[in-house]
């Protein structure tokens, strides 16, 4: 009896040894900044003089500021919409590409993945031209097929600005999600599909009853990860609209950067960061709850 206990004890100790290097680096690069920020959010600091303690003032000002609230709303909208779109599209593409084997599959996967490989700055600038009302591809295409009445000033119109940026974000992130799902699909044994097929199910039925449930953990992971990344987006939105016009596409990262580095008000920025982190975590918890399910061992 004691032998088994000892075995599980040593494996736990080994486990902690295995875990240690990773934890050290994480401590340095994530925990320390996190704590630093928490402290800073209760202070007033300009990056040069001594910080002074101001209690909850930064938080209260943030909650009362309409720009902060608008940025928060925009951030949530952007992150949720682009994640949902990206996951759905990525999953769809993975399902389709899964059936193509060999070189052909590789090439399709490469091309569909390539948006993720372009630097964000280039993508942003390129799509600014794409959406340009006068010489952009989109409006000219609409004119070409006779739908001129649908042409708009895409990045300025309050109904379309955010959505246009979201579409670009989806375009960019779907490939990564496709890749993750595809990799996971590889681990499902052939035998499961074969037995399903003998029962007379077509591919799409197989996908629905076998593939999706079995890769659910990966779908969850991809969703949560993409959500986190989209929340943090700065470059894409900034290159395309700088958060404008006015505050139409203003997000929290843009707001924080401006408050911290242009106005030199680091305490307020830290408070915004704190509020933002809570919102992000809440979203993730919500998503995890929505996508809950059993995990299968196969």
């Amino acid at each position: 009896m004691t032998k088994i206990k000892w075995k599980s004890h040593t494996s736990a100790v080994m486990g902690m040894i295995f875990l240690l290097p990773a934890l050290l680096v994480i401590m340095y690069s994530t925990v320390i900044p996190f704590v630093w920020n928490m402290i800073l959010s209760f202070q007033k600091w300009d990056g040069f003089n001594k910080p002074s303690f101001v209690g909850f003032e930064n938080y209260i000002t943030a909650f009362k500021d309409p720009l902060v609230l608008k940025s928060l709303w925009n951030s949530v909208y952007f992150a949720v919409a682009s994640t949902a779109g990206g996951v759905i599209l990525g999953l769809l593409l993975a399902t389709l590409v899964f059936k193509l084997v060999g070189k052909e599959g590789s090439i399709f996967r490469l091309i569909l993945f390539s948006p993720a490989m372009l630097p964000t700055a280039v993508v942003g600038l390129m799509f600014v031209f794409f959406y340009n009302p006068e010489m952009g591809l989109l409006n000219n295409f609409l004119k070409l097929i006779g739908l001129e009445s649908l042409t708009k000033v895409w990045l300025q119109d309050k109904n379309t600005a955010m959505i246009c940026i979201i579409l670009v974000a989806i375009w960019k992130c779907a490939g990564t999600i496709m890749l993750l799902c595809f990799a996971t699909m590889q681990t499902i044994p052939e035998t499961l599909y074969e037995s399903c097929e003998l029962d007379g199910a077509g591919y799409f039925k197989q996908v629905r009853y076998i593939t999706y449930p079995l890769i659910k953990p990966m779908i969850l992971l991809a969703t949560v990860n993409t959500l986190g990344t989209q929340y943090k987006t700065f470059d894409l939105i900034f290159t395309m609209t700088q958060g404008g016009p006015g505050d139409l596409t203003y997000t929290i990262p843009i707001n924080m950067t401006k408050v911290a580095f242009t106005y030199g008000n680091f305490g307020s920025a830290a408070a915004m960061g704190g509020i933002f982190t809570v919102v992000v975590i809440a979203s993730i918890v919500l998503v995890r709850w929505m996508l809950r399910g059993e995990e299968y061992e196969y």
Partner: protein, 281 residues
């Protein structure tokens, strides 16, 4: 009769899939082609002819980017930084993921969750304390100043993916190895890791991609250093008086090449068959 029917529907399914995917490919590919075409135009021609083929092919954009704008030097720097980051991250994350999945570490789920949640802090909050810490450690402008944070920030996802894959390995295999007298480490290295190629490949690609194009931290940390990474080199083309499109796109194409190469290289590890059959008798 049934087999014939199935073969037919299989073929038409694949045809259907091909058509749908080609549509997606076109919409995905056009922007890439745009970058390629623009890289072959002079900036002046670009402004006059944004969407179509260049009238004169401007190879000098590539030369300008590689030599004058030092993209060649930055390329090397990026390779060093990202290469080391990916390697070390994989090692640390594999160990950690295995520990959390199979080695009875107490409160493994909680640890995993906290690690993950910590990465939810927006990057803008992180750069100030990181910069001050790096400066106090006198590491400003060195490779390490980029590599260590990159490893730290990427570990959460990498560990998570490894852990998930590790969890799918039945305990019987590990027990079998232990009974045979293997210590934890050799079990990990000789028995379990070989089965983890798709996971490692996935993580390698994600890490590579994530850090190859990282801009925010690099632009602050390396602002006064003579080392610069590729993304920094690219933003140098977007200036206060406008964008230098030709070399910008040329540099982007140069950046793309290793990513594409890396992607194709690791593709074969995605092929199934490496995990199936490990336990069956």
């Amino acid at each position: 009769m049934n087999i014939k029917k199935m073969k037919l529907s299989e073929k038409s399914l694949i045809m259907f899939i091909r058509i749908v995917l080609v549509i997606f490919v076109i919409s995905t590919l056009y922007p890439i082609i745009f970058v390629l075409l623009t890289s072959l135009k002079t900036s002046n021609e670009f402004y006059n002819n944004i969407w179509f083929f260049p009238k004169e092919i401007a190879w000098q954009n590539y030369q300008y980017a590689w030599v004058t704008a030092s993209i060649g030097k930055y390329f090397l720097n990026s390779v060093i930084v990202v290469g080391i980051t990916v390697f070390v991250s994989l090692v640390l994350a594999a160990l950690a993921g295995y520990a959390l999945a199979k080695l009875n570490v107490p409160k493994a789920d909680l640890i995993m969750l906290s690690i993950f949640l910590l990465t939810m802090l927006p990057s803008e909050s992180i750069i100030m304390p990181m910069y001050i810490m790096t400066s106090k450690l006198k590491m400003t402008g060195t490779y390490g100043a980029l590599i260590i944070p990159y490893i730290g920030w990427g570990l959460a996802l990498t560990i998570y993916i490894f852990r998930n894959f590790f969890k799918t390995i039945p305990m019987e295999i590990i027990e079998a190895a232990r009974i045979d007298g293997c210590g934890e480490f050799s079990t990990f290295l000789k028995v379990v890791m070989p089965m983890m190629l798709p996971a490692t490949a996935t993580n390698a690609i994600l890490l590579f991609l994530g850090w190859w194009g990282e801009l925010l931290w690099a632009s602050i940390e390396l602002s006064t250093s003579s080392i610069k990474t590729l993304p920094l080199g690219i933003t140098a083309f977007v200036q206060s008086s406008g964008t230098n499109w030709g070399p910008l796109c040329a540099a982007s194409c140069i950046i793309l090449i290793p990513v594409v190469g890396f992607f194709l290289l690791t593709q074969k590890y995605f092929i199934a068959g490496l995990t199936g059959g490990a336990v069956k008798g």
